[in-house]
Symmetry: C2
Subunit: 227 residues, 2 copies
């Protein structure tokens, strides 16, 4: 009874308790914020005692950093695909934008965690911004500048500022969706509402970036080169 089976039913005991701790910490930090969540809250949901949690993570701040690192690790998973889509040339801006939205829509806790860090630790997280956001922003901003020179993109766009705004819009809209959804008519399911809301976000981002094709206001199928 006390001897663990080789790799079976109770194999999950050694180091993936740490994963359960990370999961619950992520949920609770995202929902209530770092300071409002106690270690007892987290350990309670995992089913262990507080000192046991501190065996896996030596302090509450260590746990916060681990939660953030897991988030950034996932981000680094999709980043290469994003960058490739951006550099592969014309019309791929849609793919970059859609993939970025998908990353945060996939798990809105990601949006909430980042927004909270932006609010709570504006200066402390700048190394993380520098490492994980800067390269992406730079590449997209360069893409925009080339698109402007080629005449595909609106010349009035402020590339860096535009990227910052769209990024914040994606994150904040998904992070606050629960609160904002109350304004919508209740005939829709939440999933439908989120889908419609996301579509409008993409429309705003694209319409304010691409130059209008002449006479394309009514017939989206008539593709013509600019000028």
């Amino acid at each position: 009874m006390s001897t663990p089976r080789s790799t079976d039913a109770r194999t999950n005991t050694r180091a993936d308790v740490a994963q359960k701790i990370l999961d619950q910490a992520t949920r609770l930090f995202a929902a209530h914020g770092f300071d409002a969540v106690s270690l007892a809250d987290i350990s309670g949901r995992v089913g262990i005692r507080k000192p046991s949690l501190l065996y896996h993570f030596r302090s509450k701040d260590t746990l916060r950093q681990a939660v953030l690192e897991e988030l950034l690790a996932h981000w680094n998973d999709v980043l290469p695909k994003l960058l490739m889509a951006a550099t592969t040339g014309t019309g791929q801006f849609d793919a970059v934008l859609a993939k970025t939205v998908a990353f945060f829509a996939d798990d809105r806790d990601r949006a909430r965690l980042i927004l909270r860090e932006l609010l709570d630790r504006p200066t402390e997280i700048q190394p993380l911004i520098e490492a994980h956001v800067r390269p992406w922003v730079t590449i997209v901003a360069d893409y925009i500048r080339r698109g402007q020179e080629a005449g595909r993109l609106r010349f009035e766009v402020d590339p860096l500022s535009y990227v910052a705004h769209v990024t914040i819009l994606v994150i904040a809209s998904l992070a606050t969706f629960d609160a904002v959804a109350a304004l919508a008519p209740s005939t829709e399911t939440r999933k439908q509402l989120l889908e419609r809301h996301t579509q409008e976000l993409l429309r705003i981002a694209k319409t304010s970036l691409f130059r209008p094709r002449p006479g394309a206001s009514r017939e989206p199928s008539s593709i013509q080169p600019p000028e």
Copy 2:
């Protein structure tokens, strides 16, 4: 020495200590969040002891509500002007948008406080949204629908979703400005950067709402009626 002068130097003692408490609580709640700020933090900045603070506000939660009510009172000050600008007819959308941005840019703590409430208490603040945001959103959404019928505004715009996104964008961009500003080149002053950033926000909002005037891409001065 102990008798207070009629209405002079020390007149400010009775009930405007409460105002100093409100001011400091607003600053600290906006910067660090409700749970991360202790009553001792606040009273310390005011220059009184914690029990003295609790004489003016019977509990920490009462103080939180008072901070929020002061913010909403200021909002109610500008709301009538906003609504008037929206209903007065053509082309006044700019005024509504600019006034809304000005409200939050004027004191970015307002943006931070609201964003925190949206994150921390998504369900609890819905009565406040219903009372203070719903009427404004409804009127602007109606304005958009009329503009669409008149052919001035893009027919693809989802009115309610558009208003929600632009509102969130205004609030979140100003709330997180400190953290995002680090991405910008450092040759600019912060004020210049904020100005440029705000201009791009307005451009995004307007470009994605108004229908393009034929041939207006290069000459912004040639105003023509749609179709």
